[in-house]
Symmetry: C2
Subunit: 188 residues, 2 copies
């Protein structure tokens, strides 16, 4: 390891997202990201495997938080309520991150490869949530269907949260999207 | 176009799936697929863009069938019932195709790139279904949430249908998975 660079990781992530927004993801090189931060490429690769991983850095932590909240819900809670507890927990992460999330999303929707990576992330999340529900004693197919429902609420709630004029919190939008899913599946 | 080859398309698809199963998808070349059918590589490329597309040949037709059934449901039907009509319609395609579907699925789960293609297919299906629901006058986020719910039922119902010992029809499993989703979202 080289010498210690104060918050190199955060500075690299910030510079990367700026450059992806300004020039496009494909047109940006790791050398340019390093240059903008005054750090070396070697430092970049100590923190990130490649320029794509900068955008998906928080995925594992988010999944872990979601899964732990589902696992930690009261044992008496029905699976859909355990899922709602997970959605509430992850909503906390997104407080004060709306501008960043909008900028990141604009980069992702402009690139097919990044969109694929996002789909893989959501599929991985769904599989991990189904696993957490099975460990709570929920049988199949209820576990997988509840997990898919939870990921659908997360996806749609997130998309609403980053809409241009939206001011409601992520927690509110997750709750509303869950209520809406319950209404539509009830045939309303 | 060269001379007419009786059912070249079907023969190429059958040979491709056999070879992907026997040797692995990555290890199989278009030349080998053509050779097994007694056709030329040129004939292969008249029918398929590449060796991956052989496995996803039916995706567009399936999506069209699903979307048309949702669009054609009685206007008075709630969105979740329109979705159920779509699931019933696509189930008809899978009658007598279980052995083929199991073989195809085994090839796909063994290859990350093919799994990604499958996720993209499902995301495209969800977007098309949400669009069909909006054209029925369903507002957002209900349209997108219902579409995601329908795709979740399709995905889980399909996975159950291809399980080793499963003998129920796709139509039965789609119906049961939809009932199960309704039960879990109702807090059951």
């Amino acid at each position: 390891m080289g010498r210690w660079e104060p918050n190199a990781r955060g500075r690299l992530a910030k510079a990367a997202l700026e450059l992806y927004s300004e020039r496009g993801y494909e047109q940006t090189t790791v050398a340019e990201i390093a240059k903008r931060t005054g750090l070396t490429e070697r430092t970049f690769f100590r923190h990130y495997a490649d320029k794509r991983e900068v955008l998906f850095d928080g995925s594992n932590a988010l999944q872990e938080l979601f899964v732990n909240a589902v696992a930690g819900a009261p044992q008496s809670a029905p699976p859909i309520d355990a899922m709602a507890a997970g959605l509430a927990a992850v909503s906390e992460v997104f407080v004060d991150r709306r501008a960043h999330a909008r900028q990141r999303q604009a980069v992702i929707v402009a690139n097919a490869e990044l969109q694929e990576r996002e789909l893989i992330k959501l599929a991985s999340l769904s599989a991990a949530l189904a696993d957490a529900l099975r460990r709570r004693g929920i049988a199949e197919p209820a576990a997988s269907l509840t997990a898919e429902a939870g990921v659908a609420v997360f996806k749609i709630g997130f998309e609403r949260w980053i809409e241009a004029a939206e001011e409601r919190t992520m927690a509110q939008l997750m709750q509303e999207s869950m209520d809406e899913l319950k209404a539509v599946t009830a045939g309303g």
